[in-house]
């Protein structure tokens, strides 16, 4: 990762973290519908993975957090408007936070039923391959979603067709409230790659360099026509499945221990050490992010709710 990319990855991680914190506050205060699945703890792998791809490489994102969209430069107010069902978002109340979309930024949407991303991502990759665009498709998913049958079908199909596709697993060990220990037969999701004759790699999802390098390698392989890869980033979920989840399935001590692995201070230290950031610049960055979020929140509050007549639109193209 070059010296221009590294601080930008950090800035986007920080923006994602702070925006999500603001959404949590607004949600707890009843000012926003509470529909976000918090992604704190996952930002490093999401943003580093996307930094390793071209800005027009299509992505099917997961439901954990909002860093995917921040990584692609989607303005925060668009995300807030989608959460709040206001005009000015990307899907006008049709899909809310689960279906944020912007094809011009390669944000191809998300399947509400888990696993849909695998088969749709395979189709997007099929089109990119047949149209010889040179693009690579990335599908983000959790360890829990890898237990859907669509994973098997898409992985096998992608491998047989040598599709330019990256299966990117964010393994946080939890499927809502069910531990991977009781739901998943393998220790590493990446081990499943062997069943599809594709490379499977495990990386530390808190290490932006490891994630970046793994995605670069998978993308190179995909662009050379050598087919799909599976990358598993070991990460941790700092919050419950949704805002307000009482988390009866794990202890506060457990979560506190996970917090020690927070990728944000880790990258911050790294940037300071490399001389790519200092305390003054960090303060400016925090301030700029805070005011950008303030502006986005104000904008969202002023925006009207999506009109009821919108419910009838976009079912069919013709």
């Amino acid at each position: 990762m070059d010296d221009a990319t590294r601080p930008e990855v950090f800035r986007k991680m920080l923006l994602s973290r702070r925006l999500e914190e603001r959404i949590r506050q607004l949600s707890m205060a009843g000012e926003l519908p509470a529909t976000l699945h918090p992604g704190a703890g996952h930002e490093a792998c999401q943003i580093a993975a996307l930094a390793a791809l071209r800005s027009d490489d299509p992505m099917l994102y997961g439901h954990r957090g909002l860093a995917y969209w921040i990584a692609r430069g989607l303005p925060p107010e668009k995300i807030l408007c989608d959460i709040a069902f206001k005009e000015g978002g990307t899907n006008r109340g049709k899909g809310g936070v689960m279906h944020v979309v912007d094809p011009s930024r390669g944000i191809f949407g998300e399947s509400g039923t888990l696993g849909g991303n695998f088969v749709i991502g395979a189709g997007v990759a099929l089109a990119e391959k047949m149209r010889k665009t040179g693009r690579v498709v990335i599908v983000f998913f959790g360890d829990g979603t890898s237990n859907r049958g669509q994973f098997h079908e898409a992985a096998n199909f992608a491998a047989v067709q040598k599709l330019p596709l990256i299966f990117f697993c964010e393994n946080n060990g939890w499927a809502v409230s069910v531990s991977a220990k009781v739901s998943t037969a393998v220790e590493n999701i990446a081990d499943r790659a062997a069943g599809y004759a594709m490379p499977g790699t495990v990386v530390d999802g808190n290490d932006v360099d490891a994630v970046y390098a793994a995605v670069r390698e998978a993308a190179g392989r995909a662009r050379r026509g050598e087919g799909p890869s599976l990358i598993e980033a070991k990460v941790q979920r700092f919050h419950g499945h949704y805002i307000g989840d009482p988390e009866p399935y794990r202890t506060k001590e457990e979560v506190a221990k996970l917090r020690e692995k927070d990728p944000l201070p880790r990258l911050q230290q790294d940037l300071l050490r490399r001389g790519l950031l200092d305390d003054a610049r960090l303060a400016v960055m925090e301030k700029e992010i805070a005011s950008a979020i303030d502006r986005a929140v104000e904008f969202t509050k002023r925006q009207p709710l999506v009109a009821p007549s919108t419910a009838f639109e976009s079912v069919y193209a013709t």
């Binding site: 299509p58 990307t90 899907n91 006008r92 049709k94 899909g95 689960m98 279906h99 979309v101 912007d102 094809p103 191809f108 949407g109 399947s111 509400g112 039923t113 696993g115 849909g116 695998f118 088969v119 749709i120 991502g121 395979a122 189709g123 997007v124 990759a125 099929l126 089109a127 990119e128 047949m130 149209r131 049958g149 669509q150 079908e153 898409a154 096998n156 199909f157 047989v160 639109e313 976009s314 079912v315 069919y316 193209a317 013709t318």
Partner: protein, 324 residues
Amino acid sequence: MSRQITYGQAIREALVEEMRRDPAVILYGEDVAVYGGIFRVLAGLREEFGERVFDTPISENVIVGAAVGAAMAGLRPVAELQFADFVHCAADEVILKAGTWRYAHDGAFELPLVIRAASGGFGFGPEHSQCPEAYIMHSPGLRLAVPSTPADAKGLLKAAIRMNDPVVFFEHKLLYGMKGEVPDGEHIVEFGKAKVRREGSALTIVAWQEMLRRSLEAAERLAAEGVEVEVVDPVTLNPFDRDAIIRSVQKTGACMVVEEAYRTLGVGAEIGAMLMESAFGELDRPLRRLAIPDVPIPTAPHLVDALVPRVDDIVQAARELAPR
């Protein structure tokens, strides 16, 4: 000018013409490329179109899901599911993905894809014989074509491939060998326009595909008895030409739906409810439905005959419903 060709040949012609016209059209599914489709209507397509025609693993979820993804990214996939029953294998992808992706993402994408599948028939057992039109018709976001003649099979499939919405295209197994006139040259059939296949005044029969064929045969026999029935073919079930059925019922005062699917909440139930809501005053006799009783479709042909409406059943029911 026109020619006599089979329903299967008409489908093949539509695919060949559209694939020649538009390089974005691809064709794939189980046994599609080398074998030429399990009903052998696709012979020679692999030779002409190369990698644009390919075989897939037995993976219905990815067959349909990939069609959605490929359509989002600039292709016009025609995906084959072999048997219409397999829409249940890929229900997530057919109903939730193809049907709602565009809506959930507020029209960010067009989804020009066609899911072809062979429906109906006999002797294939409970999981390879169904006509699952009602499931599709019940699901917003999907167009649904049920061609009954070679000309409609060709014209509707060409229209489906050019359409920017997902189309489920059911080809009836018993019709693949049926011959009929197909116009020469470019032949497109519009979705949402029902056709009156036979005019009459005694009652309206709504039927499509094999049940239409049987209804028309029944109509001949009824005519010999002096009972002139009107037979309406909806052609597509989404869009659904309600007005054509209402117009016919205004003339005849009675309606019978003949369908090769389970009775409860079938297409006939919807047509009946629609007439209650929109044309109650036009009906002077109760609605009649001929459908498969709510039991699975067996394998033995003589058991199937005990369940699926036969010409005799249609004649008998029409006699009962005709004005005295």
